[in-house]
């Protein structure tokens, strides 16, 4: 039982891309993935409630607010939708913004399709629409430990969905009774989560250089093109630079 606790994923041997236990450790299950994401609920839940409150203040009905979370299921894109709608933006502008905000998921999907162990047991149409930054990260981290699988990815993604949508419902229906948690600054858990996901992926000087370069590039670009575009630009430019420098020798 102890080794099934949330987030308890055996670390890979940092000197190699394969953990010594990889041949004996069974691939992660849906349950493993679901539990691995549970610690992130601390940050996701208030974020979802905050989204619902913002949508209400902007003029969205409870049903449409819940619909956004259930069908779009993309935090930053949802915030952009209600913000833009509230400021009178046209539908094409809103849709184009959502497209740009989600472009990084194209790269996430390509990365997962290329690296998830085969044969994949879960239909792509079932798991792909609910992959998030967090479930992608936790699954990549588990793969480095020899436990990543499409079932793990499904569990991790479903875990986020199981937190995000009900919390939006709570926020939309009970907004006046929910205390404001802004003063707790729970949003700090997001960068900490990604740092904790990132560190085990760094396996040597090359990876360290790519990660530090990515951080520096993002901070450099943020004031110029905004945070979301900075993430996308960093992924494209940083990963392209890494591929050129490595010359595909690690593929």
């Amino acid at each position: 039982m102890a080794d099934r606790m949330a987030g308890e994923i055996p670390m890979a041997d940092p000197a190699t891309s394969m953990t010594p236990a990889e041949e004996t450790v069974p691939p992660g299950t849906v349950r493993d993935g679901f539990l691995a994401v549970l610690p992130l609920w601390i940050g996701v839940a208030p974020f979802s409630v905050a989204f619902a409150l913002l949508a209400r203040d902007t003029g969205y009905s409870a049903a449409k607010t819940i619909g956004l979370s259930a069908f779009v299921f993309a935090g930053s894109a949802q915030l952009a939708i209600v913000d833009l709608a509230g400021r009178g933006a046209t539908v094409p502008v809103i849709v184009l913004t959502v497209f740009l905000l989600n472009l990084r998921h194209l790269l996430y999907g390509m990365t997962l399709a290329t690296t998830l162990p085969r044969p994949r047991r879960v239909p792509t149409w079932l798991v792909a629409p609910i992959v998030t930054d967090e479930s992608f990260g936790v699954t990549i981290r588990a793969m480095r430990a020899g436990r990543g699988s499409d079932r793990f990815l499904l569990g991790a993604s479903a875990s986020l969905y199981a937190c995000w949508v009900p919390c939006t419902i709570l926020g939309a229906l009970l907004s006046s009774r929910i205390p404001n948690t802004d003063h707790l600054h729970l949003d700090v858990i997001f960068p900490l989560s990604f740092l904790a996901i990132l560190l085990p992926l760094i396996r040597g000087r090359d990876d360290l250089a790519v990660a530090l370069g990515g951080a520096a590039l993002a901070l450099l670009l943020r004031p110029l093109i905004g945070p979301t575009n900075a993430v996308l630009a960093t992924i494209l430019l940083g990963s392209a630079a890494a591929a050129l420098l490595r010359g595909g020798d690690r593929a």
């Binding site: 849709v95 999907g109 792509t124 792909a128 949003d187 960093t234």
Partner: protein, 103 residues
């Protein structure tokens, strides 16, 4: 079409789902070694960018507290390797600094 309407929500959902499915569809085709190296670097660049921008934010005092929290998270990650323990350590340091009146 109304920006607040169900049609807009449906369009946004369609765009989001299409992008997420397309990534898998493209990645399921054979990729060159160079593209494989590119995709292998995606998690490193994506997470370093998101983490850095979330840590370096809100002025020097706030950034300082977040850097301290990040240091605790990083230390526990490297020592113990458990996600929940790393987040607990980082949140504890951040909260203590806030309670101490630094933030």
């Amino acid at each position: 079409m109304d920006a607040f309407g169900w049609g807009t929500i449906a369009l946004c959902a369609l765009v989001t789902v299409t992008i997420r499915l397309s990534g898998f569809a493209i990645g399921d085709r054979p990729v060159s070694p160079r593209m494989h190296a590119f995709l292998e670097a995606v998690p490193l660049t994506a997470f370093s960018a998101i983490a850095a921008m979330g840590i370096v934010t809100g002025g020097p005092t706030e950034t300082g507290m977040r850097v301290a929290a990040a240091a605790a998270t990083g230390l526990v990650t490297l020592r113990i390797g458990k996600l929940w323990a790393a987040l607990l350590a980082g949140m504890a340091v951040y909260t203590l600094l806030r309670l101490a009146g630094i933030g």
